[in-house]
Amino acid sequence: MIYANDIEKVVRDFCAAKKSEVKTTFKMDERIINDSLQAHEKSKKKQRAGLQPNIRSIIMKSPITKIAAAAVIIVGVALSITVIDKLTPKVYAFGQTLEAMQGKQSFHIQTYFQNRRKDEFWAEYDENGKVIRYRQEERQGYYGPYVTLWENDIRTTYHPDGIKMISRIGNTEPELEEFDPETAAKEIYEHVAAGRAIMEIQKPSPYAGLITINVTRKDRPLRQVLLVDPNTKLVTRIDNYWDREFHKGIELLEYNQIIDANMFSPEFPEGTITIDQVSQEVGLAQGDMSNEEAACETVRQALEAWSADDYARAGKLFGGAPPELLTERYSNLQPISIISIGRPVPVQNIKPVFRVKCTYEVEHDGQVKTVSPTFTVPAVDGQPGRWYVGWWIMHTDLEVDAQDRIVKGPIIPGERVGDYTLDMSKDDVLKSLGKPHSISYGSEEYSLQNLPRKYYMSFGGGISFLIVDGSVKGIGVNEPFYKFTNGLGVGDSEQSIIQAFGDDFYINKDLSDLKDYLIYRDKGLTFEIHKENRTVIEINVSRSD
């Protein structure tokens, strides 16, 4: 019951909560400031123009002031030639940027994917433009960043789960080239020079003070937007928009600045498990076996050695892992008897990798249980013809079979997607689906240790949950295998949705210009519709009104 005296407080709190969620965007700020300044300038000019006849008439009434005015004008014009020369900004040409960026020694950049922060890179180069060393931090949200370091053909990857892996990787130039702002600027120039792209340079915006360069490729559906600092002439940001819906960008944070040496040789947390593939031979030699046979055989031998407590042999087959990886981290998965080694399934990757699901018995709390973990089997980097079992074991059925479990049930509007219901607890979701791929809200990312009141939790298999105060308030799916009982789902046309669900909907336009929202409030359903091909790209289920 709300009493008369309390209602003001209730509404005031409501207004404060809504207001705290409001933020302007850079685009909005820039648009408003630019247009306002222009309007302001115009009105100033108008006013000055309006004043002019009066001043002129006052001056020209007197013959003496006529002569004085003429003298002032002559002196003024003479002076203004030099003054204007100094005040007028020199015309910018893209060649100045190429010149400013030439001879890179180091850079520090932030990459973006679909307008969200992704990786951060620090790289150093020698005088010939060859990379000396780099550091990459990949934001993962749940774990904290993955860190990759590379120097002298040795790559160290640190997984925040407490695993460090050292391997030999030769030429990393192609990996880094995509993020190198000097190369990117050069390529753009070459495309423009060859007539494959059109470049349009705009004046510095009054708000941010940066020069905007629009580049439109003629040979592919790519639009690039570059921001250039008019003082340093350096590119500060490059955004690539593919076919209007795919975005990748880099932001230059530092260029040719000295990078702290500790960035390239950080101290890892105490207790980090090191998997060393450089100072020792690891894995199993392929010999005459096919890739698939080698993958199966590597897993079989690794499990047999583990089962026999032969940690030297097992460690070698697990890619150079120390015993503690198997005795501590995966102690609950030590086999006592192998039932089956599954068929190897290739994983799309730049190097050969297979997944092999195995079934075997383990002893757990004095009881024998059957488990079916999936092992990853990649080729060893820097040791041709050898295969090893990766340390990342998908050891619950959940991670592998989550998709199967989810799609066993249909989408029920206002209620559930498969087994996942609105209002179920966040903990039940985690128990069922395992670790989320990401936890985020807006542009912020979170971890399970640091959760806000409301957030999105995304899992593999194209399902995500809106969690508010620890329980599910919305479920989103974006893969075609999620279906309603009528068989409709992601990928179907907007028209078929309207035919099936009726015309009691309304449409909201998304600010991004990529999609529209087809909303059935009474059914608790929102369909994200691709703006151009008008098909469903995501379905959101929430409580109906």
Partner: protein
Amino acid sequence: MLEDKLLVWKLKRGSSDALRHIYEKYKKDLLALAIALSNDRGAAEDVVHDVFVSFAQYAEKLQLRTSLKSYLLSCIANRVRNIHREKCQQASRLDAAETIGSDSDGPEQMAIASEELQRVGRAMFQLSYEQREVIILHLQGGMRFRAIARSQGVSINTIQSRYRYGLNKLRSLLNGEAEK
């Protein structure tokens, strides 16, 4: 207040920095009010844009009889009210759905708010536009009744009545005693 007077003084003398400063200072208040009144983020951004551009255009003729913040908030409210009237006149089905009480963020976004906030939000949109407007201007915008009355060209008694009736109705709705 002194700072605002100085900013307006500078602006009237052509200072672009003053214009930027005013925008930075009040942009969040303006956008929040526009969203609260229009319930449409896209439309709200346009309203803030139009109001601020117009403010910049006529800055040199500006004669403030109230605080700068109240003046800008009134401009936002007036602009949203005009749009609301236009929409009502069009009376298209879609517009009607939006003004009756839909949250333009859609059901998914509605779920973001806690149950309590949702209840209040829904109830707010069952008030008449005039009642909702005065409640938001007073409780969110911090505007005095006198300033609201002046900006709308109505008596202060009218504004206070709208506020009182609005809050009473809101309380009834939230307590589940609303007349059907």
